[in-house]
């Protein structure tokens, strides 16, 4: 490893540095795509299909073209551009094309069939209403089980049973006997609803032709600017240097913006044709109905345990609802492959058979959403642990303790071949149980029950593979294989530091935490370090920000590049002060000779020297101060235990969260405030999935949750205070020792809440294995169970 720290304690790593992003964002000085002003800006409105499945007979732009302000109308035919085809080199994968505009067939309600360009957003929407769309409705299928039955409407010719991916991910020929002979065999199905990542800023892009440079410039609200550049250049047949993509401030993504949207390519295509600036601002209704959704999964498992609660084996059938098309470039494989590969989570498992499927239905396509299948598989494992404990009359803590991977097991090779680096699985569980007072819980629960109050306590333990590089994506067989990332660190003559990274924050505060990493290496104030991201003209080619990768991968690249530059600073200091290079330490803005107080030179003087007196440098030194580095790690596992206490109102079916505790371990914490913010936001999103959010489609494929009155997002009033405890097990797979943690909150919360709710109502004979646990559903479960009991 490069960059051995020469200082005994960290100056910037671990410091509570206020986010440099916040003053502008909080003062309304944020610069989002919707804030950009351009003379003569045109506005795009999409014409979206009102039905879920149809043959397109005719799209007539004429009525729209007669309206004031309407400049152009485009259809698939008038643009003549290919769609986006995600490719996986895996058996059982069926390639589909995500069209930019539907040509002959509509496969989900809200799919764009035409677009209108007008002088104002108002006129564009008037135009979109006026475009005459002649559709011949076809039968739709919205349930992934029904979609696989013989005779179900078929979305894509090549996909038998509408299966876009069907893979026996791992086999275990002897597992049936192993399960059959067990003391306890559980057969269970777990369901999680389709949800929307719901970034505060919906998808938005502005494309323009740069007449000066003769190139296309696309500002877009994305997590992956370089990937968008490659895609736009591919589709429009331009060399990449003729396309610049900029992600300015981005108001959240959560995965919805880590795939390329057809609309981004469309808007670029229109600007290229018209040679005028064009903007599309997705409204909330479009976002709910037509943007990428996530998390709709049904998992059926058989799991066997010994009488003392040891997990023997799991036979799993994992099925994900892909919606109408594969997202680009990750494909519809992203959820089932993640689920199959990582189902065991933090538990030791030896016998494992798993089939993984992705099924096409007439709904908006799925994309990765924060957590990517980990919320669902954590729900599977954690419900199994609670069910086993209850069936076997054991403590929930004991069952988990007997199965968790232990310190001495690390590095642990999982049953699917994944290598787990060290974590604090048992410690996090113990600490969480202690924080929630698990020891006296049964008595507290009983006492409350005597007062007519139903309290429940639930846990979820999970591990989360983060910061994984090229090999992990390559194992999925992705034609476009993400993974590495780069950083370029450059100091200027005044001592200022500019760092260019290929990742692209969309709210995570990378300008702060990456600056801390570099400041630590260079021994300069964090305020002297500026992070440049999100502009393909200004940054090295990179993969953007998703999959909890930036702190590990960009952080690692930043550390390596910073260390390389620090080495040069030390050489210059040694030269200037005629000291040994090994004795130079960089801190607080000076290069000092260790053990020789007062023997120091300001780092900014070394910067002057490197640029303005380069003739005075040692003979073998190049002028200037810069260093570039890449990092492509194997991946590192962060871990956590979440715990919650809830109260169930049997009258209304409402669940109130009284306490929520997170004990997390993301290795070396770069900025505790940012980590805590990520945990809180993640838990809020996980609570949303557990109790509130669900994209509701009727049988005909109409999305009935098309506004925020119907798609119920919890607010500050519904999200409880979240207590966070930190454990710190540095990762050997990560340059900085940090592990990724952007998704963890979302991963742990659904299982935690579901287990707590079940704990509250288990004595009534109620078992709930489906999220969200809406008041209506829970009330029905309680009623059914109580009626059964009172019945004959």
């Amino acid at each position: 490893m490069t960059g051995v720290d020469t200082t005994p304690t960290f100056r910037w790593i671990g410091a509570r540095v206020p986010r440099v992003e916040d003053p502008a964002l909080l003062a309304g000085a944020g610069r989002y795509v919707g804030d950009l002003a351009r003379p003569g800006l045109l506005h795009v409105a999409m014409v979206r299909s009102p039905v879920a499945s149809a043959r397109i007979l005719r799209v007539d732009p004429a009525p729209a073209l007669e309206l004031p302000g309407v400049v152009a109308v485009h259809t698939a035919g008038s643009l003549g551009l290919p769609g986006l085809r995600a490719r996986l080199a895996l058996p059982g994968f069926v390639e589909t094309e995500l069209p930019l505009l539907a040509g002959d067939r509509v496969r989900h309600a809200g799919e764009a069939v035409a677009l209108v360009v007008a002088s104002s957003a108002y006129e564009a929407e008037d135009g979109a209403e006026a475009v005459s769309v002649d559709l011949e409705p076809l039968p739709a299928v919205t349930d992934q089980r029904l979609a696989q039955e013989p005779g179900a409407p078929r979305l894509h010719e090549d996909a038998d049973g509408n299966r876009l991916l069907d893979i026996q991910f791992r086999d275990d020929p002897g597992i049936d006997e192993a399960l059959a002979g067990a003391d306890l065999l559980l057969e269970e199905t777990f369901v999680s609803a389709r949800v929307n990542a719901l970034p505060l800023e919906a998808r938005t892009c502005l494309a323009e032709w740069d007449h000066h440079d003769g190139r296309l410039v696309l500002h877009t609200s994305t997590q992956v600017p370089h990937l968008v550049r490659t895609t736009v250049a591919d589709v429009l047949d331009l060399p990449e240097h003729q396309v610049r993509v900029v992600a300015p401030d981005v108001g959240g993504g959560f995965g919805q913006k880590c795939v390329v949207a057809p609309e981004e390519v469309l808007v670029a295509a229109v600007a290229l044709r018209l040679r005028r600036p064009v903007r599309w601002v997705e409204d909330r209704q479009e976002n709910l109905v037509a943007a990428f959704s996530g998390h709709e999964q049904q998992h059926t498992v058989r799991a066997a345990f010994t009488g003392d609660g040891r997990l023997i084996g799991i036979d799993a059938d994992l099925s994900c609802d892909a919606g109408a098309y594969s997202c680009y470039p990750f494909s519809c494989g992203v959820e089932p492959l993640m689920a199959a590969g990582e189902l065991p989570g933090p538990y030791r498992l030896e016998r494992y058979r798993v089939r993984a499927r992705s099924v096409a239905t007439n709904k908006a396509p799925m994309a990765p959403y924060r957590g990517v299948s980990r919320p669902q598989i954590t729900m599977v494992m954690e419900r199994l642990m609670d069910k086993a404990a209850r069936s076997l009359g054991l403590s929930r803590i004991d069952v988990r303790t007997r199965n968790l991977i232990r310190r001495e097991d690390f590095p642990y090779r999982g049953v699917t071949g994944i290598l787990y680096d060290e974590g604090s699985y048992l410690e996090s569980l113990e600490r969480c149980a202690e924080a929630l007072g698990f020891d006296g819980w049964a008595e507290r629960q009983q006492a409350a029950r005597r007062e007519g109050r139903l309290l429940g306590l639930g846990f979820a333990c999970f591990s989360e593979r983060t910061g994984y590089g090229t090999p992990v994506f390559a194992a999925r067989g992705m034609a476009i294989t993400p993974g590495f990332d780069s950083a370029e660190v450059r100091m200027d003559p005044s001592g200022g530091v500019v760092v260019r990274v290929g990742t692209a924050a969309h709210g995570q505060g990378h300008r702060t935490s990456l600056a801390q990493v570099v400041a630590e290496q260079l021994g300069v104030d964090v305020g002297a370090v500026r992070i440049i991201q999100g502009d393909t003209d200004a940054t090295p080619y990179g993969w953007g920000t998703f999959a909890s990768r930036t702190a590990v991968i960009a952080g690692g690249a930043c550390k390596r590049a910073g260390a390389g530059l620090a080495a040069k600073l030390r050489r210059l200091a040694a030269h200037v002060m005629e000291a040994a290079e090994a004795d130079i330490e960089l801190r607080d803005g000076v290069a000092a000779v260790r053990g020789s107080p007062g023997d120091e030179v300001p780092i900014r003087e070394l910067c002057r020297l490197a640029y303005h007196s380069s003739h005075q440098l040692p003979e073998d030194e190049e002028p200037g101060l810069y260093h570039t580095a890449e990092f492509d790690p194997p991946g590192t596992f962060s871990n956590a235990t979440h715990g919650a206490v809830v109260e169930v109102d049997t009258g209304t079916g409402a669940v109130r969260i009284d306490r929520y505790v997170v004990v997390e371990d993301c290795g070396v914490v770069i900025n505790p405030m940012i980590v805590d913010g990520q945990v809180r936001g993640g838990v809020a999103q996980g609570i949303a999935c557990a109790l509130y959010e669900e994209l509701d489609y009727d049988e005909d494929g109409q999305c009935r949750t098309s506004t925020l009155m119907d798609y119920v997002v919890p607010t500050a009033a519904e999200v409880p205070p979240i207590e966070i405890h930190h454990l710190e097990t540095p990762s050997a797979h990560s340059e900085t020792g940090a592990k990724g943690m952007g998704e963890g909150g979302t991963i742990g919360a659904p299982a935690t809440i579901l287990n707590a709710v079940n704990d509250a109502v288990a004595h009534l004979g109620v078992e709930v294995d489906e999220i969200p646990v809406t008041p209506d559903r829970l009330r029905r479960h309680i009623k059914d169970a109580t009626h059964d009991k009172d019945g004959p």
Partner: protein
């Protein structure tokens, strides 16, 4: 999410507003706080061709106590009732209900009269108008008329207001010290899935003149007459309130939507009526 084209007028007097509405015809609409109308226009669910903005009308924002009753001007914002200085005798349920109306920005902008004229089936002010025998003062081309709240609500977003009439005031003849409202929504600030408002007088230890109004169980707020027989003349008790809840629930056939099935709404009505009666008894 941009509205279809419309003509916009800002009225300076009630008479001018009525005149503009009359000329605007069937598709003219009053813009008060705009908290429902503007959203519906942006979704193009409402497409008024003429919008008459009454926010500049003088003298329509007030809460006046008069002869034991209360007069509320139509342009009074929800938050003015929420924060009305000094508790009005027998009208504690008004500020209590105001806290259930939307979120603070909605309460700061939305109006009392606008909510009643909009006639959402779960709106607090519509329910209280029925609960407390409100009279609605309406100005139209033929002058001023007063309409009882009972019968005013005709269906989903439908009232007996003519397109060229403006609601200017809501009068509550008297208050009730035993009155309460209970709601259930999945989030604070949402329209209730079901809401129950109750009132009664307590005379010599027994309940007199009881009324129970439910929101969210039909296409308009409804009083539940069957409950009157259960409660009238009885001493308040937990068993009595539970029975009233059961009777209230049997008399309704609520609609289903994605927030709750018909059965669920019936269950909620039962629970909320019981809880509202208990809350009213605790006053």
């Amino acid at each position: 999410m941009k509205p279809a084209p419309f003509e916009y007028h800002r009225a300076r007097s009630v008479a001018e507003a009525v005149d503009l509405l009359e000329r605007g015809g069937e598709d003219a609409k009053v813009l008060a706080g705009g908290q429902s109308l503007v959203a519906m226009m942006n979704l193009r669910l409402a497409r008024p061709t003429v919008l008459v903005d009454i926010n500049d009308l003088p003298g329509l924002s007030y809460v006046l106590e008069e002869d034991g009753g209360l007069r509320v001007g139509a342009l009074t914002r929800h938050c003015q009732i929420e924060h009305y200085p000094g508790l009005l005798e027998g009208f504690a349920i008004l500020p209590e209900a105001a806290r259930w109306v939307g979120h603070y920005p909605i309460r700061a902008r939305g109006t009392f009269g606008g909510s009643i004229a909009h006639a959402d089936a779960a709106a607090e002010w519509c329910m209280l108008a029925l609960l407390l025998d409100a009279e609605l003062v309406v100005v139209g081309p033929q002058g001023t008329r007063t309409v009882p709240a009972d019968g005013f609500f005709q269906g989903l977003f439908m009232t007996t207001l003519a397109p060229d009439e403006v609601l200017t005031e809501v009068r509550f003849p008297r208050g009730y010290s035993q009155a309460a409202i209970q709601e259930f929504a999945r989030r604070h600030g949402d329209f209730a899935i079901v809401a129950a408002a109750v009132r009664y007088d307590l005379e010599e230890g027994v309940i007199r003149r009881p009324r129970v109004v439910l929101g969210g169980v039909a296409d308009r707020p409804v009083a539940v007459p069957a409950v009157v027989d259960v409660l009238d003349g009885e001493a308040p008790s937990g068993e009595l309130f539970a029975e009233a809840g059961r009777v209230a629930a049997t008399g309704i056939t609520p609609p289903a939507d994605i927030h709750g099935s018909s059965d669920y709404r019936r269950d909620l009505a039962q629970v909320l009526v019981e809880r509202a009666l208990s809350a009213a008894a605790g006053r």
